[in-house]
Symmetry: C2
Subunit: 200 residues, 2 copies
Amino acid sequence: MADALPRAVTRLIEELSRLPTVGPKTAQRLAFFLLRGTSGQAQTLGRAIASLHEGIQTCGRCRNFADSDPCAICQDPTRNTALICVVEDPLDLVAIENSGGFKGLYHVLHGAISPLEGIGPDDLTIELLVRRAGRERIGEVVIATNATIEGDATAMEIRQRLSDLGVRVTRLARGLATGGDIEYVDAATIAQALEGRREL
Amino acid sequence: MADALPRAVTRLIEELSRLPTVGPKTAQRLAFFLLRGTSGQAQTLGRAIASLHEGIQTCGRCRNFADSDPCAICQDPTRNTALICVVEDPLDLVAIENSGGFKGLYHVLHGAISPLEGIGPDDLTIELLVRRAGRERIGEVVIATNATIEGDATAMEIRQRLSDLGVRVTRLARGLATGGDIEYVDAATIAQALEGRREL
């Protein structure tokens, strides 16, 4: 195969194969898609990747990736600064923003506690959150970690670390997803929806 | 979401979403994988994509993508120049090279006849193949198009176009794949394996 394809193509297939979810066959498909397109299209994508890190900052307050420090959300004067939503990842923050249901500030942990993956509390931004809660006038911390073992462990750790500060700590409700058909909902979710039942 | 992520990230997610097999969620995963890696890693991949088209030529003889024209295979003095294998795509050529079973030259069609997709014989390099067969001393053309309706239609068209030139036209054998369990082989393949049966 040494001579069967141009070096630039084999090199690109190799580079693309390093990406998550991209196996060798997908890498080949992507490389040939780019090769069959125009040089300009490949350059646009290539530059977007090569320059990705340029100008991206981490907000010193909420730790989200941002164009400025503090980020646009932390600078937004219409936000409720007494309310902080704690998320594992920037994309969780995006999902919550898109829901339109939250108008406070955020704190991005950049992961969750996972002994299996060797991720402990000190690998996350929990200490920064604790210091932030001690310094800012915060009324409530809403923990929006994933509904997984890792997310639960992280929520417990944060609740404990904030317990001395007299801050109200809440967590996203567990229950049925909108549009969910009870017949197909897993047992753990039904149990949690029962436990969290509310007056009609 | 306008302010929730840096512009460079949302732009990259948009660009990645244009790639085949990459949906919005995969695009997000890839963008954050690159963002969490080093700037150098993103630059390596970005440059490999941006410079993909540079220096890549199409071999004037076999139409494969190559670093030179004629390509390394067409220039190889150890190849049997009287034997041409016709493939739909450069990656088919790579697969045949990797099999080690072919030492002739190639001809890349860059597609197959597909009325549904609006691809006719003139959109492929068939005319070039016919001219090549008339000009070069070719003893045999092995058609290695895919075992699909499109591949079959393309093979038929090529056979017909070469019929006046007195060139031997063959096609890859159809039958059981190596390691195939007859219980699980589709009916059409079994029928073709029976039809193509050989003396032991």
